[in-house]
Each structure stands twice: as C-alpha cells, then as structure tokens.
C-alpha cells in the first residue's frame, strides 16, 4: 500500500475525537457498536456484511448528523437571509471544507459536489472533454475500469471522435506498467484510471502512473471510489488533476459524489448544467457564471447528504485512515489464507499490492448460487460482474463472488464466511 497510504496523523489529530491515533489500538468491537444495522439477525443469524465495496453501512454519527440537520436547522443553502438558511449554508460549506481536508486539496474551491461519483466522471467528460479534446486525441483507460469510468469516455468518443486506448493488465490483476507506458505519446491528452480495482482489489501505483503521464503533458483523472474507504488519499502528493470518489462507500450517504479538480483547471472548464446557484448574473441576453465549484453545482444540492458526508469524514478521520487500512489489511491476509485453503476455490486478482477486496470462483458453484446459499447463513457478499465486464472478460469469466471488507468486519466474520462456503460445497459439491 506504499503508493496509497500517506501519513495523515496531523490531520487526524485535528479532528481529535479519538485522541492520538498512533497510540490507539483499533478496537473493532467498539467500532461495531456505532453501526445500528448490526443490531439485528438475518435469517436468524448475525449479519455478516461483506459487501462494503458496493456500499458501506452507516455509523450512528452520520445518521444523527442528518437527522439533526432536518430536525433543527434545515433550509435551502446559498439564498435567504434568515437564520435557518444561514445555519444550513454554514453546515453545508463546512462539510465541503472537511472533504477538502480529507483529500488534502489546496483549498475547498477544488471540491465539486455532484449527484454521484459516476456523475463526477461524466462532468469531466462533458465539460473538459467537449471543450478541450478533439478528434484524434487519445484517452487511455485501464482494462480494470468499472463501467462508470468507461462509458462516459465512450460517449465522448462518439461525440467528438477521441480515441480510447486500453492499458492491459497482467494475469495477477496488476496494471501492465510497461505496456501502459508504451501507449503514452504526443496524442495522449487524458488518462482515466482507477486507484484500486473494485473487482480485483488491485492497488494501482497511481503516483507512478501520474508522473509518467505528466511527463507527456497529459492530465490524469483518478477514480478513487475504492481507494478512499481503504486508505488515506492526498491528491496533492499524488499530483492528480481530477480525483473522484463515492461518499456512500466511505460510510456516508447515497445521493452525492465528489469531484476534486485543480482550481486553475476547473476555472477553465465551462458549465455542463445550467440553473440556479451556478450563475453570477442572469439577463435574457447574457448570463455569467460563478467560479468553481459553484459553476458546476446547478440547482439545489444534496444539502443534508453533504452534511452527512462531513460527519462520515469526521468519523473515519477520528479512527485514523491508517488504522482502518491496517485493520483491513489484517482481514485481507487472513481471508486470503483461509480462502486459498479451500479446494476448488480460486481467487481472481492476486496482485502483490491489494486492498481488502477478494473476488473468487468455485468449481462446484456459480457465483449466484454461492451468493444465495451464504446469504441464508447471514453472509452478504456481491455476485456478478461488478459493473466491470471487460475485466471479467479478461479472465474469461461472466461473474465472480466478491467479498469486500469495511472497518467493522472481524476475523469471526471471515470464519463464518468459510463455514458458509462449506455449506455451498455441501449443497452443490
């Protein structure tokens, strides 16, 4: 994880609720008590939630922050002089500050709030892509992208005639760096690449990728949807031009996405949606636009969800991203060892540097059958193509079963998973 984990102890201590993280052992049992969803049984058994890669569960702190906003100070933001609007605006903009700190951006004008991470990528493809890219320009993606980082670029290709190049991956699921570098050239204008693969768990050496791309004068958009839950991210240290993440995977609410963009870059980009909040002045003859980020935030935003994300960032920062990462790496290694010991089970994605995501297949059972059987034992895992069909094709598969860990998972969860896989063999073996 050396390319990803950058020490953020100074920032964590600013949040401060948990004191000095370097001295605090990560107490998973205490952390679990923050998540009310675990106070129930599923099919008569405890819920073993191993699908955080799809969406993470929410701590009480996030739920409370959102309820408090609705119950005590809710109003629309950026308009009105009344006290509720003022308090709402302050809470909303303070959440933007928290997001900026979370990614260590230069300032909070570099944080654009969107409706989803997918929308954030589409924003760049529409606004940057349609203004600055032309026919024949090349965009490089990797073979392990999920659909959200493929389809927006295909739409751009069909519109303006850019050429998409695909950087291959090796058999273990690592990026083929040599082949990637061979694709870089004078026509390369943008590289859109994941930081961590959602289907394989591979950690891409993204800083190395960014450095290489910048040598060719092109920009890099990093899809950080799987990286932000599992590791500290410092966009300035990485040198990313754009960085996108999905708040609901970082224990925050659904309905919002985050786009980081370098401020100078964002201010060269035209709006992609028009409406209220994004304008400086409007007459029927001419409208002038706000600077970033408001330029890209037409309409009433997801106010309470953004406040909820602020609470989620407070929560993970207090625990310490490096503590979370260390806890999850322990789970990854234990689970990998236990799964590898099962005859007829194959892990897909065995890169040396991985996040706590494991895809696997079994000789005796299709992933959907695995998913249904383990669900009866309370184990929630993802089955299917993980919205990443090209990477499935790369391995000659149509689907895998995937377990993805969050900060609340335990070694006992993995023991239950192993028992549940035993039941799969009993039924279908």
């Amino acid at each position: 994880m050396n390319a990803v984990v950058i020490s953020r102890s100074s920032q964590s201590s600013e949040v401060g609720q948990a004191g000095d993280n370097s001295l605090m052992a990560f107490d998973v049992e205490r952390v679990r008590k923050d998540f009310p969803i675990f106070d129930q049984k599923v099919h008569g058994r405890p819920l073993i939630y191993l699908d955080s890669g799809a969406s993470a569960q929410k701590p009480q702190q996030v739920i409370d922050a959102m309820s408090t906003a609705y119950e005590t100070y809710y109003a629309n933001v950026h308009r009105g002089v009344h006290v509720m609007s003022q308090r709402s605006t302050e809470a909303y903009e303070s959440a933007r500050e928290k997001i900026a700190k979370f990614l260590n951006t230069n300032n909070s004008n570099e944080i654009v709030l969107t409706g989803s991470a997918t929308e954030a990528i589409n924003l760049v493809a529409y606004s940057y892509g349609r203004k600055f890219l032309k026919a024949g320009d090349e965009i490089i993606l990797s073979h392990m992208e999920h659909h959200a980082n493929i389809v927006p670029w295909q739409l751009l290709r069909d519109d303006v005639g850019v050429v998409l190049k695909i950087a291959p991956i090796l058999d273990d699921g690592s990026l083929d760096l040599e082949a990637f570098e061979a694709l870089l050239g004078s026509k390369t204008k943008l590289v859109a690449m994941t930081h961590i693969s959602n289907a394989l768990g591979t950690v891409v050496p993204i800083k190395q990728v960014i450095n290489k791309v910048h040598e060719h004068g092109a920009l890099v958009l990093v899809d950080g949807c799987q990286a932000t839950p599992h590791s500290a991210v410092d966009v300035q240290a990485l040198g990313a031009d754009f960085y996108v993440f999905a708040p609901h995977k970082v224990y925050g609410p659904t309905g919002i996405g985050v786009l980081y963009g370098r401020e100078d870059l964002l201010n060269t980009m035209p709006p992609w949606q028009g409406g209220g909040d994004m304008i400086a002045s409007v007459t029927f003859d001419k409208t002038t636009f706000q600077k970033a980020p408001l330029r890209f935030e037409a309409g009433t935003p997801a106010i309470v969800e953004t406040i909820g994300l602020g609470a989620a960032i407070d929560y993970v920062s207090a625990l310490g991203m490096e503590n979370i990462a260390a806890h999850e790496q322990g789970l990854l290694h234990y689970a990998t060892e236990r799964l590898n010991a099962i005859e007829g089970l194959t892990i897909i994605g065995t890169a040396p540097d991985k996040a706590a995501i494991i895809s696997f297949i079994m000789d005796c059972a299709h992933p959907h059958d695995i998913g249904t059987i383990v669900d009866q034992m309370g184990v929630a895992l993802r089955t299917g193509h993980h919205c990443a069909q090209p990477v499935m094709d790369r391995f000659g598969l149509s689907a895998t079963a995937r377990v993805s860990f969050g900060l609340y998972n335990t070694r006992q969860d993995i023991d239950t998973l192993i028992d549940a896989i035993g039941a799969v063999k009993e039924f279908l073996g």
Binding site: H366, H368, T372, I373, Q376, A399, A423, F427, L428
Partner: protein
C-alpha cells in the same frame, strides 16, 4: 433452517444444472433468441424448430449461467418438445405465475399435465428467493421471444 435452500436446490435441479440436456447448437432451427440478464451477466441462446402447424419439433440452448438458470433452461427444453407453440405459451404463463406467486398461478397449473406441473412446481422453489426469479425465468422469456420473432430479451 435450510429448508428453502433444499427446496431450491433439489437433486433433479442440480442434475440438470450440472448436466444440461439439449445443450447444443442445432444444425437446423427456425427461430432463435438471445436472453441476457445484464445485472448478473447470465446469457443464453435458445434455438427452436417450429413446423408449419406451429408444433415445436426441436429445442436446444447454449450459454452461461448459474445452476438455476441452466437447470431451468434444460428442463424447459424437455418439456417443450412436441407440443404446440400455444401450449408452450400456456406453460410459460403458468411457470411465470408460480415463480412470482401470482394469484391465478394455481388455476394456470391445474390444467397442465401432471408430470409437467410437478416439474414446474419444482423449479418454482425460487419464489422464496426474489432476487433469483429472473434466473429461473430467463430461458422461458427467451423461448417466448424466439417464438414471437424477437431476437433479444433482457430480464431486467
């Protein structure tokens, strides 16, 4: 507590899932359709030979899917041979009703041949697993599309 699972994964179903019948690309056929379940990646093609009197003379399929979708396709091919396209439609409606717990499901099944009804009932154990209903019905939707001249269907 695994009663629902045992009902779903009965021996007959597992056997069809592992050794699907009529799993081939026939040399001749009169209609075909591709069925896709885009959310999970299941994909199969159903080939039918329907004669001038709308009698189904041959049914085969190929594709990839879970035990339930493959078993359902396999058992479907056995049930459809030498019945009319209209009878196939009746079976499809009855099966669909059983899988989704439709109010008129029992009426639809009541008129069927006993052995066929038993097989449909067996496959419809999937109704306890709403997320899996589309696995069991994929081949049937595809067959229906082929007979009615559609080339492709999606169960989402």
């Amino acid at each position: 507590m695994f009663d629902d699972l045992r009902e779903l994964y009965q021996e007959v179903i597992l056997d069809h899932g592992k050794k699907p019948r009529n799993f081939r690309h026939p040399d001749d056929f009169t209609c075909e359709a591709a069925g896709n379940n885009p959310m999970c990646g299941d994909a199969l093609i159903v080939y039918l030979t329907v004669d001038d009197n709308r009698m189904i003379r041959d049914v085969a399929f190929q594709g990839k899917g879970c035990a339930i979708s493959v078993a359902s396709a396999s058992m479907m091919t056995e049930m459809l041979k030498n019945i009319s396209a209209d009878e196939a439609d009746t079976l499809f409606k009855a099966f669909h009703g059983l899988c989704t717990g439709a109010d008129d499901a029992d009426d639809l099944v009541a008129g069927l041949d006993e052995e066929v009804a038993e097989r449909l009932q067996m496959l419809s154990g999937v109704r306890q697993f709403p997320m899996r209903v589309k696995c069991a019905t994929l081949a049937w939707h595809t067959m229906d599309a082929a007979i009615n001249g559609h080339q492709e269907i999606s169960t989402e």
